[in-house]
């Protein structure tokens, strides 16, 4: 479904991605792990073109989205993203946060968008917060709203960029349980996380990134129990 081919990306003189290739199949859950600065967040942001690769191709459902003339906003409406810092819109209520994009981007009638939003809020267990503003919610609640907001666009893939890194353990487990639910529903997901337990439990494939490249990949069983690369071994011994 998603194919990354030989992606290069630099920020100034700092080369962050050095020829990364990877594939994500429909319904697959792929977890990106690696130390800070290894390029995993940048790679994730390349998928929805929040970062533009310097070279290489990104193909989503047969469409080369990195090609010239492809409208970025059209690519992004099919790829939901959840951020470490939630990034809810503070001037809008929870309901407005969720309905904004369906109404403005998909031209969904307001009533229909709100019905869908309430359904999604029910799913993330926050239906009573629809009229609240983001500042009135805990971090875990904000992140669940952010997931509902991304789902409201009915994306084909969900991208999670360290979605639980800013949360305490109790809130982390709230958010992870919503993510597990998405996995159970067959959502295609690409997840950057430090939650190795979660990765082991739900992922189909783990990609280990180091210094701008994927140096090892495999099923959780392969990669976590029997890492081949010295760097992977050293990293896993610290986080497991």
């Amino acid at each position: 479904m998603i194919s990354l081919k030989n992606i290069y990306k630099s920020f100034g003189s700092n080369q962050v991605l050095k020829g990364v290739s990877a594939d994500v199949a429909i319904g697959e859950v792929v977890v990106l792990v690696g130390a800070s600065g290894s390029g995993k967040s940048t790679l994730l942001r390349c998928i929805n073109l929040l970062e533009e690769p310097d070279s290489g191709q990104i193909i989503i459902e047969g469409v080369v989205v990195t090609a010239k003339g492809v409208a970025k906003h059209e690519v992004r409406r099919e790829t939901g993203m959840v951020f470490q810092q939630f990034n809810l819109f503070p001037h809008l209520t929870v309901l407005q946060n969720i309905t904004l994009a369906p109404i403005r981007v998909r031209n969904t009638p307001k009533a229909e968008a709100e019905a869908l939003a309430l359904e999604l809020l029910h799913k993330v267990n926050l239906e009573e917060k629809s009229e609240a503003y983001p500042y009135q919610l805990s971090g875990g609640q904000q992140q669940r709203v952010a997931i509902a907001r991304a789902l409201a666009m009915k994306p084909k893939v969900m991208l999670f960029d360290e979605a639980t890194s800013a949360l305490d353990p109790a809130m982390t487990s709230e958010v992870l349980s919503v993510m597990r639910q998405l996995v159970a529903e067959g959502m295609t997901m690409v997840v950057v996380t430090h939650e190795m337990g979660f990765a082991r439990e739900v992922s189909d494939k783990i990609l280990f990134m180091h210094d701008g490249a994927i140096i090892e990949q495999g099923t959780p069983a392969e990669l976590l129990q029997n890492p081949q690369h010295e760097v992977t071994k050293a990293f896993l011994s610290k986080v497991l």
Partner: protein
């Protein structure tokens, strides 16, 4: 007592007509200023370099030259190139152009102060850059710069007195007329100052109230 209250009370209706003109001049100038300011801010932030340069030059020129000279250029100067504007409109155009430069800088700062994560999140939902600006960045930036807009409004009320130089019959012009006739400059200008103060104080308090209402958990 040096202040002639009877004279003030007697000339009050005459002065208040001038105060109304001052408000009209201020209102339209600020409206023009906000419109221009928004355009200038977006222009300066745009990736189109010539546009950004033109907007910056405009800001520098307006901030670096006296407002009264700008008023003279519009009223006395433009007729030389065939543009004849009546005094009141000349005043509004000059003040609005001037205010647009200051408000442009205020808006630019406000837009830049909004966390980049907001833009990223909005883009990730499939909004186009102009929609991100309109629905996400500008509403938040506007609330944040409201105090500065309030200051600008107060400044414009006071600076509207400069259009008396081109014979717009606003408050300062009218009080000068009465003072010149009665020779009681002290009473007239003290009264005039008080009327300006009531106007500026009302505006600043109203904006403070509005700011409190619009500020949501920021």
């Amino acid at each position: 007592m040096a202040i002639d209250f009877k004279l003030i009370v007697d000339s009050l209706p005459f002065l208040l007509v001038g105060a109304r003109t001052a408000i009209v001049v201020t209102f339209w100038s600020v409206l023009l200023g906000i419109t221009l300011g928004l355009m200038v801010a977006l222009g300066r932030l745009s990736k189109i370099t010539p546009l950004a340069v033109v907007c910056q030059a405009y800001v520098e020129f307006m901030r670096g030259t006296p407002m009264v000279v700008q008023i003279f250029i519009v009223y006395f100067g433009l007729p030389r190139v065939g543009v004849y504007l009546p005094p009141l409109l000349s005043g509004v155009v000059a003040l609005g152009l001037n205010s647009g430069a200051y408000l442009g800088e205020i808006f630019r700062g406000g837009i830049q102060s909004i966390d980049n994560g907001q833009t990223k999140a909005a883009l990730s939902l499939g909004l186009k850059p102009m929609q991100v600006m309109r629905y996400i960045v500008l509403p938040q930036a506007f609330v944040r710069v409201l105090p500065a807009i309030g200051n600008e409004f107060v400044t414009m009320i006071k600076d509207s007195s400069l259009v008396s130089f081109i014979a717009v019959q606003e408050l300062t012009y009218r009080s000068t007329l009465v003072a010149a006739r009665t020779y009681d400059y002290f009473s007239m200008y003290m009264a005039t100052a008080m009327i300006y103060f009531v106007m500026t104080f009302t505006v600043s308090r109203t904006l403070m109230w509005l700011e409190g209402r619009l500020r949501v958990g920021d």
